[in-house]
């Protein structure tokens, strides 16, 4: 019963901002590729809220290994959505995306978004090269956590500063969920205490 309540609450927390964005008046004045770009970003933000909850094993039915397996697949989807987001924005307006990627855009939120993108790519690359690099679990977790925290900060600033299709209140709530979930999961998994223990 408690499990169902948690899943219902989480599903609505992630779905409401997406549904409200789908009703944005701005959509009437955008072509399909631009709309796809926006929604790839919105869905990615929603998945960012899900990731720490999965990593910490807080979701009913997805504790421990099951949670981490889903976390991996959500991570793959997240990387794909970011590629679609940037690629579709590039098709919509190439010079604006070139400016953003070169960090010379007039809009500060572009820099935050690019920072988050590279942090996510780095976090995913670290996952793929974990065995090849022979990283110890402690080192690996600290690296993954650090990159994810950078990605979360960049993503939230990027999303909050953009005047786009997302409805402001639901966008703020979703960003808070991303922040709280990340802080909670980092505290739960104690990446830093493992480092301190190793040093001692």
């Amino acid at each position: 019963m408690r499990g169902i309540a948690i899943w219902l609450a989480l599903t609505s927390a992630l779905a409401v901002p997406v549904v409200l964005a789908a009703n944005s008046p701005l959509l009437a004045w955008r072509q399909p590729v631009y709309i796809a770009a926006g929604f790839a970003g919105i869905l990615a933000l929603a998945l960012m809220a899900l990731q720490p909850l999965l990593a910490a094993g807080w979701l009913p039915g997805l504790e421990r290994a099951a949670g981490r397996r889903v976390h991996r697949w959500v991570g793959v989807t997240l990387v794909t959505l970011i590629v679609v987001h940037v690629g579709a924005l590039w098709i919509t307006s190439p010079p604006d995306v070139v400016d953003a990627l070169l960090l010379v855009s007039p809009t500060p939120f572009s820099d935050w978004g690019v920072m988050a993108m590279w942090a996510i790519f780095a976090a995913a690359t670290l996952v793929l090269s974990r065995r090849a690099l022979g990283l110890r679990p402690v080192t690996w977790r600290l690296g993954h956590t650090t990159l994810v925290v950078i990605a979360v900060i960049g993503t939230v600033l990027h999303a909050m500063l953009v005047d786009g299709t997302m409805e402001p209140v639901s966008k703020t709530a979703l960003c808070l969920l991303v922040l709280l979930g990340t802080v909670g999961a980092v505290a739960r998994l104690r990446a830093w205490t493992m480092l301190r223990r190793r040093r001692a």
Binding site: S93, D96, D163
Partner: protein
């Protein structure tokens, strides 16, 4: 794209001069600095936008002034190109682009469709590139996406 680099010293001097010259008539201010091109100002520019009475159905006003660097004299008959993401088209659509000429007082004013937020900000683009003066691209941002007008001002220096 030229980037505006303002050192702390030049900012302090500029701010002091601006404060001291608060009572001067701006149109005749001596040593008026040329307007620098803004970041992203030239994005989706299309050369040779035609001079039009109005872009599309109108309802939104883009206006501003064009003056000469140094003495601030108004420049008449200067061609200013304007484009934006509006309710009638994207920045890249040819019909989103139009041009107008300044009047005897160096003032321009062109009606165009309502600008709507695109790429995260409700903004417009303007260009001076007729050759007599150095090319300048501006990218003013609306303080609210509900605004129905936007201003941009050019101070040009001879090419």
């Amino acid at each position: 794209m030229t980037h505006r680099l303002v050192s702390r010293r030049s900012f302090v001097i500029g701010a002091t001069v601006a404060a001291a010259s608060g009572l001067a008539v701006p149109a005749r201010a001596a040593g008026l600095k040329p307007t620098p091109t803004m970041r992203g100002g030239a994005n989706n520019y299309r050369a040779g936008a035609p001079v039009v009475d109005r872009i599309g159905g109108g309802g939104f006003w883009m206006s501003g002034t064009v003056r000469r660097a140094g003495d601030g004299a108004p420049l008449a008959g200067q061609r200013i190109q304007i484009w934006a993401h509006t309710t009638e088209g994207h920045e890249r659509d040819p019909w989103s682009h139009g041009a107008t000429l300044t009047d005897a007082n160096g003032v321009f004013r062109l009606e165009m469709p309502q600008i709507v937020p695109a790429f995260g900000q409700a903004h417009g683009h303007l260009a001076y590139d007729s050759g007599d003066f150095q090319t300048v691209f501006l990218r003013p941002v609306m303080s609210s996406p509900n605004d129905t007008s936007l201003e941009a001002h050019f101070v040009l220096q001879p090419a």
